[in-house]
Symmetry: C2
Subunit: 308 residues, 2 copies
């Protein structure tokens, strides 16, 4: 039986995911293109294919719920959350390419390069990445241009060379290594590859909420711990799941000498680490009123305990 807190959380997660879906659908409608240009229909279609119709939208949820801590809601956090989700989705499209992870399935559907073609997959990823900055810099995201510039800068940092893309490059290099990877390296690489975007979700909410320095520090500790819990949970899921329940080829990480924490620490120690990280995230929220921060606390526990 779910407790009241988890059932409240589940319905809130679903409601934010629905609002993000609507926002993404609107932002990726043909009307979003200026009228005088030729419409690249197939490209737009591929962008929609890889973005709409699924996912828990955990990153946008962090944006929306963190902004709400400061009384900010409506269009701004939804746009910022949708932009962040575009970055997440483009990264999956590019990671799935034959030259990268070479995956045919994603969430139980053909990956973009299978559903379309490789060139379209590459370009649709580029276009989603670019469009994320368009949305973030747009006036409808926040009236204050200083807030918009800060959102853009943070998103670029989290998703670039020193963040997600850099982490992905390190992960590919690590795959070629013959020796097992040390836990400290794995955690830092994963903090770039996966953690940075999750942390940015929290940071974007704090930027939109114009949080104080102390509030931003606390939220950063929350975001770092949640991001780490997410990745350890991911490694554990990969070890325990099979292709049927996960919708992608599981066990692949181990086959490929992927740098995972399960490989570095063993399964039991990895589970203890995951749960400790979730509680560390919850503890970082202490300075906020418990009822207002309840959804963020549940998000950390959900991230650690999720089954897919």
């Amino acid at each position: 039986m779910p407790t009241d807190a988890t059932s409240d959380f589940d319905s809130r997660l679903k409601s934010v995911a629905d609002a993000i879906e609507t926002t993404l659908d609107r932002l990726l409608s043909p009307a979003a293109l200026p009228g005088e240009v030729v419409r690249p229909d197939r490209l737009l279609d591929a962008m929609r294919y890889s973005t709409l119709g699924g996912g828990k939208r955990l990153r946008p949820f962090l944006v929306v719920e963190t902004a709400r801590l400061f009384g900010v809601d409506g269009e701004g956090p939804l746009r910022a959350g949708a932009a962040l989700e575009m970055i997440h989705c483009y990264s999956l499209v590019h990671d799935d390419l034959p030259a990268m992870d070479d995956d045919d399935l994603r969430r139980g559907r053909p990956t973009a390069h299978k559903a379309y073609d490789e060139a379209t997959a590459i370009l649709s990823g580029d276009a989603l990445l670019t469009y994320a900055f368009d949305v973030m810099a747009g006036e409808a995201t926040h009236a204050d241009p200083a807030v918009r510039a800060a959102l853009v800068l943070g998103l670029a940092r989290a998703s670039g060379l020193g963040g997600m893309v850099g982490g992905q490059a390190l992960d590919l290099e690590a795959e070629r290594a013959t020796a097992p990877h040390e836990a400290a390296f794995v955690m830092r690489m994963q903090s770039m590859k996966t953690g940075a975007l999750l942390l940015y979700g929290v940071e974007a909410g704090a930027i939109l909420g114009q949080a104080s320095a102390a509030e931003r520090d606390a939220l950063k500790r929350y975001g770092v711990a949640l991001g780490a819990a997410f990745q350890v949970a991911d490694d554990i899921l990969d070890t325990e799941s099979d292709a049927a329940t996960l919708g992608k080829a599981a066990g692949k990480d181990a086959d490929r000498n992927k740098a995972t924490l399960v490989a570095a620490l063993g399964l039991d120690a990895a589970k203890r680490r995951r749960d400790a990280l979730a509680e560390e995230a919850v503890a970082a929220l202490d300075m906020f009123p418990r009822d207002r921060a309840a959804n963020l606390a549940e998000a950390a526990r959900f991230t650690a305990q999720r089954r897919s």
Copy 2:
């Protein structure tokens, strides 16, 4: 014999290209990464490989010279120009990929996926694209966050779905068509694929210079005509050059049913169109003092007459 105007222009073009090279080198130095992360050396190396050491830097030149019309120079226009050049360079890296144009040579050197590998080429393009927005949104680009947000928004528009990436997608689709392409379609597709970034160079200078609406309109006419002249000149060069002088496989466009204006209009009509567009660009500068706008006027003629 070069006239004085062209020799002044040549030395100015060279001097801006040198300053842009220095700026790119600094922005892409290891010091640009935050200290606590693991450095993805190979990725950074690939980003530098595809960005440094060459090119006329025409797009940054347009940023710098347009900003200078309004008395704005120094760090800001150089950073904005370098960011724009990163977008241009990433687009070449992705366009050269096996799934796209499948080119082995670029400026006489192996393309990124040949010098490194396909995964690194894809990721280095993603990282350059992302880093461009980092640089554009940074405080050192302009003190006023409204200017930075406008620069980001314009760059995203010019390089995304309704601009460069969309144009590239349309070009790939056009290649698959069996019938010849109409001139009007070719011009609009190319205005997205190539024209949008050149126009944005001018627009970025105008944003940095906080130009009036009338000034921005005039500069937009200049940038649109220059962008069109550039692409027609490119089509003509491709028809007339061979691999030895151009450093890439020439004549390829015709082999592949590429949508070019030479194919649509014939060579002589294309040359007349190119020269008329260059003069249209020069005429659009009429509202500015002739001496201050001389470099922009020469840039339009240079764009039409260049030999590589």
